[in-house]
């Protein structure tokens, strides 16, 4: 770890990244933003922005359950809760009945209400309000290690299942006729989204996590015409928002999560305007 710090000291301005917590925050964002950007491209293409939003909100219920069980480390309970919640929503959506957005809305509100009910017992909700906005400056080297593992695991899954996921996004019957087990790859995808959201939520915050997942991919989609372009631009936009947001938050003394999301939002609006000047439809 000290070798990485030394390298960062040599390369980065000391005025901003002199302190260890800023270096850790930068490393965390460099691990988190590209992975969220990759997954985000598929979430946007599959119109799952609302799904990942509900997943983020459900984290409150996950934390509530962890507290109820008296657990010190909430990471594991959040992860398990997130995976089950995601698989359950997908299952209900596949079963049909109400429309997907109605189902998701029901689950999202239930998650928030359950979390609030569990956490506000004894008027103690204030202790958990940092979950809403996150705090990437509080990240430790141990947390960085778990983010690095998530990053490697996420990239590996993404290399293995992406093509199958892309074909089933286009047409499930077509994908099945080519031997793709669409339900399996879709479940893998929602589990990956759940893992990424749940493990990032303490640093980015419940209110902002979805923006980080969706905004860079949505901005890239405005100007990209192929899959590799979409992915590359999404990752570049996300990394840029992460680093620029961290520096801006440091300079202005504001929340890092909010500054990162605002940078991503700015890129979205710029790309939205840029699409009118690009001959994307040829």
């Amino acid at each position: 770890m000290s070798a990485i710090y030394n390298l960062m000291d040599a390369m980065l301005p000391q005025s901003v990244f002199g302190l260890a917590f800023m270096k850790n925050a930068l490393l965390a964002l460099l691990l988190l933003t590209p992975l969220l950007a990759l997954i985000g491209t598929m979430a946007v293409n599959r119109r799952m922005a609302f799904f990942s939003d509900a997943l983020g909100h459900s984290a409150l219920a996950g934390v509530g359950l962890g507290v109820l069980l008296g657990l010190q480390d909430l990471t594991l309970v959040l992860l398990i809760f997130g995976l089950l919640f995601a698989l359950f929503i997908s299952y209900i959506n596949r079963r049909g009945g109400a429309s997907a957005d109605t189902n998701i809305s029901v689950f999202s509100s239930t998650g928030i209400a359950l979390g609030l009910a569990l956490l506000s017992g004894g008027g103690n909700f204030g202790r958990y309000s940092s979950l809403l906005v996150g705090d990437v400056l509080a990240i430790t080297t141990k947390d960085l290690l778990s983010l690095a593992l998530l990053f490697l695991f996420g990239i590996a899954i993404w290399l293995l299942v992406y093509n199958k996921l892309l074909l089933s996004a286009l047409n499930p019957s077509l994908a099945q006729s080519r031997g793709i087990r669409t339900v399996l790859v879709e479940n893998l995808f929602v589990c990956l989204v759940a893992a990424a959201v749940m493990l990032s939520i303490r640093w980015v915050g419940i209110l902002l996590i979805n923006a980080l997942l969706i905004l860079p991919a949505a901005a890239a989609r405005n100007v990209a015409r192929s899959v590799p372009q979409h992915t590359l631009l999404s990752v570049v936009f996300s990394l840029f928002s992460g680093v620029a947001g961290l520096v801006l938050a440091f300079q202005l003394g504001t929340s890092v999560g909010a500054a990162v999301v605002l940078c991503a939002a700015a890129l979205y609006f710029i790309s939205y305007l840029a699409r009118f000047f690009l001959k994307r439809n040829q």
Binding site: N45, W158, L167, L170, S173, S177, A220, S226, Q282
Partner: protein, 248 residues
């Protein structure tokens, strides 16, 4: 697509039943589909045509038996099925090109990491089978209905299938696009001896290209050459609005 003759000889459905959501979709369907023939499935809306295709694709649970046999009448298990869906109601704004779509199906390398020169060449070869190679760099969402169907046909033909299933492949496609698509399918049948099963409502097209027609409405009502089926009482009952002149 290779020039090897098809290994499969025929597909037999014996007493196939399909129930979905507690409703009978297919009842006691028995029929044969032969290689080197275009078999067209006709029937009114809700007759279970798409369900029959999905049973052949093993995408719905069914009772009864679907057997694949080779030229010696022995069971043939490794049937490669190509499928062109009725419509592809995908998000037309999606940033994906024809090349990306084919690469996702033909290569193991994740498309987001880029497409190799070799995969691009393979995609071009594939597109040539359906006269669609000029579309390779187009964004999927900008293709016309006919162009999209040709791309899907090319995809269904790689790897070379033994059975090709086309679910109303030319509905919503203009006349030129329809002719080009069907001529391609006809050539494939001649050169590669594929078994082709197609759902269609276009009687002119059926008369021109079909070797055999099967009329179903939950169960098989009539089977035979286009002339035999069109002149059958079951056909007039199923499609009372179609005048005799239209079907002769």
């Amino acid at each position: 697509m290779s020039d090897q003759p098809c290994r499969l000889c025929r597909i037999s459905l014996d007493h196939v039943h399909v129930n979905l959501d507690k409703e009978t979709q297919l009842e006691d369907v028995s029929l044969h589909i032969h290689c080197g023939e275009i078999t067209v499935l006709v029937g009114p809306n809700g007759a279970g045509k798409t369900t029959l295709l999905r049973a052949l694709l093993n995408q719905v649970p069914f009772s009864g038996e679907i057997r694949h046999e080779d030229h010696d009448g022995k069971p043939f298990s490794k049937v490669v099925t190509g499928y062109v869906p009725q419509q592809l109601p995908f998000d037309r704004q999606m940033p994906i090109t024809v090349r990306d779509t084919l690469a996702a199906a033909l290569s193991r390398r994740a498309v987001w990491t880029g497409v190799s020169r070799a995969t691009r060449l393979k995609a071009l070869e594939t597109l040539k089978t359906a006269e669609a190679e000029s579309l390779i760099d187009k964004r999927l969402g900008t293709l016309s209905g006919g162009e999209l169907q040709r791309v899907l046909l090319a995809l269904a033909l790689t790897p070379t299938p033994d059975l090709l299933i086309l679910d109303e492949p030319v509905s919503g496609v203009d006349q030129n696009g329809q002719m080009l698509f069907l001529k391609t399918v006809d050539t494939l049948r001649r050169h590669h001896h594929l078994a082709i099963l197609m759902v269609s409502h276009d009687w002119d097209m059926v008369k021109k290209f079909a070797d055999r027609v099967i009329l179903i409405n939950k169960s098989v009502l009539a089977m035979g050459t286009p002339e035999e089926v069109f002149s059958s009482p079951a056909f007039s009952q199923a499609f009372p609005v179609v005048k005799a002149g239209d079907s002769q």
